[in-house]
């Protein structure tokens, strides 16, 4: 009885210790087994992608990421397409997981909003950002796809649309439908987009 009781106690303590390890607060990863296979749920997902010269090409963010094989199903995904030859993620001020994720500014926002976004430390290194509500990232091809509304933001133009395919290695984005674009031309050239000079207060719009 004594030996058996000790074995049961030891087994119970082992299970207890294992369970407590899983319960550590703030653990951003958890795993579950399901009958069809296994998957991993990741919170606050950040995936930096480097090119052959060890320069960061882009960062993929996700509020949550469910990893099944080579596919990652992301919620509130964001792609930060990096401009320049950054070789370490520590050179980039990535989105702090403690703060709310940045929202894309509205299409056609006024200049001060654009400046605030693009001069933010989170965006100063960026060439462009893509925001969506859901997306699937294929790690084997580095293609991110989504059927949901997509929001592309860059310094020269912004675009909204429905559905996109981002071929990240080529920095190529295809927006599938319902595309709406706002261009930012040089100040004088804006006349092609703006009402003609004869209209009063026209210049005030920009």
């Amino acid at each position: 009885m004594g030996l058996r009781a000790r074995k049961i106690h030891a087994l119970s303590l082992l299970i207890l210790t294992a369970a407590l390890c899983c319960l550590r607060p703030g653990t951003p990863i958890s795993a579950q087994d399901i009958s069809s296979g296994s998957y991993t749920v990741l919170k606050r997902y950040i995936y930096p992608r480097y090119n052959g010269d060890s320069e960061i090409q882009y960062l993929v963010y996700g509020a949550t990421a469910i990893n099944k094989g080579s596919l990652i199903y992301l919620t509130t995904p964001m792609i930060d397409i990096v401009d320049g030859s950054y070789t370490s993620i520590r050179q980039i001020d990535t989105i702090d997981a403690k703060d709310p994720y940045p929202a894309p500014y509205k299409l056609g926002s006024e200049e001060k909003i654009l400046r605030r976004f693009w001069t933010s430390t989170h965006h100063k290194h960026s060439q462009a950002w893509i925001f969506a509500e859901k997306a699937t990232f294929d790690k084997s091809t580095n293609i991110l796809t989504s059927d949901d509304p997509a929001y592309f933001r860059s310094r020269q133009l912004d675009a909204d649309g429905i559905g996109f395919d981002a071929f990240n290695d080529r920095k190529f984005i295809h927006i599938r439908s319902n595309v709406r674009v706002v261009l930012r031309l040089r100040e004088k050239a804006l006349k092609i987009e703006e009402p003609a000079p004869s209209t009063s207060n026209k210049g005030d719009k920009q």
Partner: protein, 243 residues
Amino acid sequence: MTSHFRTFLAVSGVLAAAAFQPALHAQGFGGMFSGFSMNGVTQEEEEETSTVITASAADIDLEHNVITLIGDVVVDDQENKITCNKMTIYLEEDAADSLVGTADKPDEKASANKEEKPAVVKPGEDRNGKDAKEDDKDDDDEAKKNISKIVCSGDVVYMKRAKPDDPNGQDQIAMSDQADYDARKEIIVMTGNPVMMQGANKMYGDRIEILIKDGNRMRVINPKVYYTGDSFLSNNTKSGGGR
């Protein structure tokens, strides 16, 4: 036996908590992303401030700095409207200021030091350890990417609307196979069977130029035929057209 029962209860409790861990995580961090709201934008709000170009689809090639809008491309504002099948926008490095500056480039020295430094960001500094104000200064000296050229192709129609305060005014319409907008010269050149129309009048020529900095004035280069209603006249003058 009682001790066994207590141990069993404790283990069961912990396991039950562990089983619900994903749910606990989801609740605990769910609010973290609440700021990511994209549904509050209305189309009316957008169009109040900017001219929006619409298209069926778009290809954005950041590596080659080319953006292509495909299918039913429409640029519409109060005074002008352009439609075409395809619009290609070219970006280039330019020393002129862009509206929102350019991306920060990493400093090699800073990045070399960076590897040795802990990833602590002081207030007012970025991750390269540089003062944020210095960075802003650097931005002004760097080359900027700007739109250099826009090419519209396939059934291009440019319409300059008549002024609302002009009762006799008529819309001016120019059609061609292709239109090239040069951002530096601020001119649109329409080529490929160009024709300009105003009411019943038509004018053909080698090309049509739209001078942006001259109030979108349209002129036909080497006009060949004037067509007015049922009659038409040949003309060999080198240029024609008007406001």
